[in-house]
Structure formats: structure tokens, C-alpha cells
């Protein structure tokens, strides 16, 4: 993670700092403009007027360097997998991944006979939130954002036992 993680024990100041930092992170999740397949259209619909993800402070950025999360919106093929990994590696910490749709979650309808379809993007990059659906409705994606925000809310910079 970034600069100050895992250096301090848990205490009152740390929890307040946590709260503030997490608030900033969860309030401004910028996804990378990156649609792969059908779900990308619903992702665009989420950004458009009716669903308006900007309400939650989510605006797409074209460059991975300036993005906080990646919405894997569509079927991940083997040809694409290494590119997705590379894009993920280009993003700065802390970074989050939403696997949008069944294809990105598990291969979806292409699970059985799709010889060129990766059965779940979690084989290449770690996923934070899975949004089911084929394709998920924009409401589902918004719910996915809210779930991700809940997850970020529980983060802490304090030393964890594992570290």
C-alpha cells in the first residue's frame, strides 16, 4: 500500500486518520475507462444521465495511472488476460477491482465450451467485488460500488498481525 500503511499500532489517532483517509478514498473512486464486452455498454449507461455514477463521485479516467479502480466489464479472453494484468500493475496503490458480469466472474455462458475464455478474471488479478448478472443492470453496478465503498470503509493503516 502507500506511504504510511503498516507502520503504527492501532490507537485513537490512527482510527481517526483511518476514517478520514478511507472517506477520501471511497468518495472518489475513479475507474479506468476500459470496457471489454457487453457489460461495457451497461457501464456506459451507468455513467450516463439516468443512473449517473457521478453522484457517488465516480468519474472515469482514461489513463491507468490516474485511476483507483478497474471495472472488468466483460469477457476476459486469454489474449486479453496479460493486458489486463499489465493495466492493473500500472495503476497506483491503493487499487480496487470490480469484476462486472458473469464472464469476468467465472466465464459466464462461455464457461463450458469457451476454449479461449478465461474462467474468471481472478485468475490474473485480485478482485474486490463481484457483480453478477449477464449483463448486470446499472443498479447492480451501483450496488457493487457501494459494496466496494463498504469494504474501503473497513480498511486501516494500523499494523495488522499478518504484516
Amino acid at each position: 500500500m502507500s506511504i504510511i500503511e503498516n507502520k503504527y499500532r492501532d490507537n485513537v489517532i490512527i482510527t481517526s486518520v483511518d476514517k478520514f483517509m478511507n472517506w477520501a478514498r471511497l468518495s472518489s473512486l475513479w475507474p479506468i475507462t476500459f470496457g471489454i464486452a457487453c457489460c461495457a455498454i451497461e457501464m456506459m449507461a451507468t455513467a450516463a444521465s439516468r443512473y449517473d455514477q457521478d453522484r457517488l463521485g465516480i468519474i472515469p479516467r482514461p489513463s491507468p495511472r490516474q485511476a483507483d479502480m478497474m471495472i472488468v466489464a466483460g469477457t476476459v479472453t486469454f489474449k486479453m488476460a496479460s493486458r489486463i494484468k499489465r493495466l492493473y500493475e500500472q495503476m497506483p496503490e491503493p487499487k480496487y477491482v470490480i469484476a462486472m458480469g458473469c464472464c469476468a466472474t467465472s466465464g459466464g455462458p462461455y464457461w463450458q465450451h469457451g476454449y479461449h475464455v478465461m474462467k474468471g478474471v481472478d485468475q490474473v488479478i485480485p478482485v474486490d467485488v463481484y457483480v453478477p448478472g449477464c449483463p448486470p443492470r446499472p443498479e447492480s453496478l451501483l450496488e457493487g460500488f457501494i459494496k466496494l465503498q463498504d469494504k474501503i470503509r473497513r480498511e486501516t493503516i494500523a499494523t495488522t498481525k499478518a504484516a
Binding site: S27, D54, P92
Partner: protein, 352 residues
Amino acid sequence: MDYFIQIVTDLLPGLDGLPVWLVIPSIMFMFGALIFTGISIYSLIILWFERKIAAHMQDRLGPMEVGGWHGWLQTVADAVKLLLKEDIIPAVADRKLFKLAPYIVFLAAFSVFAVLPFSDKIVGSELNIGIFYILAVSSIGVVGILMAGWASNNKWALFGSMRSVAQLVSYEIPIGLSILVVVMSVGSLSMRDIVMAQDGGIFNWMIWQNAPFNFIAFLILFIAGTAETNRVPFDIPEAESELVAGFHVEYSGMRFSIFFLAEYANMLAVGIIASTLFLGGWQGITGASSAPGIGLIWMLLKGFLIVLVMIWFRWTLPRLRVDQLMYVCWKVLVPISFINMVGAGIWIGLSS
């Protein structure tokens, strides 16, 4: 500056005992810090404003959740988040240049504010060649952008910075020529003199003088100013759909936010310069007010108004192509502003 020094010394009487060489720089530093804070706060406000305006133009609501009322803390959250992000320097980048570039860009944008007269009294430095200083200092930003593009070692960034340099260098010429029109009619390079020459209400503003030459000069300054700040329809250095993010494609976190800050500072600078030169500066519609602070409010109001028009452009217009951009500058704006300047000169010569 003198006014500011006086205020500070009044507030802190203990300063009298200290040597002058210590007091003056520290007060200067305080003024600089004040301007920096001001620009930061302004950027946060205007960014939120831009997102709201854009959203309402597009039949949506824009930020609504963060901070409660209409998402007013949205940009604060964005800024804090950007500061907390990992700072990536690509392995193949030229590290020194890569680190230095955003600061140069910001420095250029920031230095301009030193001579901008926010009101009768509030001005960093009353240079007698103020407008000339602005032209000179603001071109330093080009170097920063070129450095950013080159040091990133990314082809899109290089494209972006090349475009940007061509654009910024070209558009300084129509800006210079249209500023000259004002300088000719006032007969001074000092910002203060220029504002004072527009004393006495809206009809004495520079934009209405020397009909129609000053008005044309204002339009040219505004168009070229939009180009200087890389805003749509002249945002080809960033050109989201062509060059991904242009010269700052490899920048993340804080360094990216500095570029952002510089862009919005530049916008405000253009707004304030245009309103100083043409729209009466700190003077209100009915003329200057003697009450303190009123001048500042007028100035910011006018500056914001121009920034808002730029925002309006951004969300309405498509962007030009790189060759068309150069065409607009060299074959349209430069000739017109040149003829305009000569015409204004003759007009002033005849009418004096």
C-alpha cells in the same frame, strides 16, 4: 505589497523590532502562502462547480453524496485521495525531469499571480511592466510540459507535449498583440495604471474603447487564452480520446494533481488578466468603491465569469484537430490581431 506589509505589521506589532531583511521576506512568504491557499481553495470550488454545471447541462445531477449537500465536499475528497495515492515513477522515465516537470508547470501558473491586482490594495507586486512580466513568466510552463512529456518516456505523452508546445508558443502571439492594443490606449504596462484608466463605470471599460478595436482584441485574448490553458476546443495536448491523457498520461497521485491545479490556476489567471485589461479590473459597474474588499469581490466575480464561459465551452464543443488549431492561430487570429493592432494605433493617433 506595501498595503499588505502595513496590515501585517499592524497586526503583529512585535515585528517592528526585527531587522527589515527578515521582515520583508517573511511577509512576502506569507503573501505567497495566502495566494497558494487561495488558488487551492478556488480550484476545489471551481472543480465542484464545473462538475455540477456539466452534470446539469447533461440532464444529470453530478456529485450528490459526498459531504451531504449536493456533494460539496466532492473535490476535497478527490484532492485528499490524490495526495494519498502511490507516487509512481515509471522505470524507464527520466527520474529527475519527471519529478521536476509538474513543479515548473505550476510555478509558471503561480508566478503570474504575483502581479495580478486583485483590488486597489491587494497586489503582490506593483511592477511597472506587469503585463510584460505575465507574458514572460507564463511561457515557462511550456518547458515544464515538454519536460513532462519527454521524461515520461511514453509515446502518447510525447505526442501530447509536442502538440502542447506548438500550441502554447503559437497562441502567445495573438495574446501579445491584443494586449498591445490596451497598452497603446493606456500608455502604460502597469496593471494598476490600466485599471485606473478604466475608472468611472461600465461604459469606461477598455472593452468599449476605440470602437471596435478593443472589443476584437478582447475576443482574441479570450480565444487565445482558452487555448493557452488547454481547454476545449483547444485541448489537443490532453485529447482524451486520441492521446489517452496527453502529456500527463504517466503521472499519478500528487504530481497529477499539481498539473490539475496548474490548469485551473491558469484559467483563473486568464480570467483575471482579461477582466483587468478589458473589464475594468476591480472596479464595479458603477465605478470603484471605497469600501475595502469590494474591489476583491468584483475582481473575483469577473474572473469567475470568464472561467465559467470556458467551462461552458468545455461541455458543448468538440475539439479541433492539431493542424486546424495551428490554422486558427496563424492564419486567422494572428492576421486579425495584427490588423486590429494597426487599426487601433491609427484610431488612437487620430483621436488624440
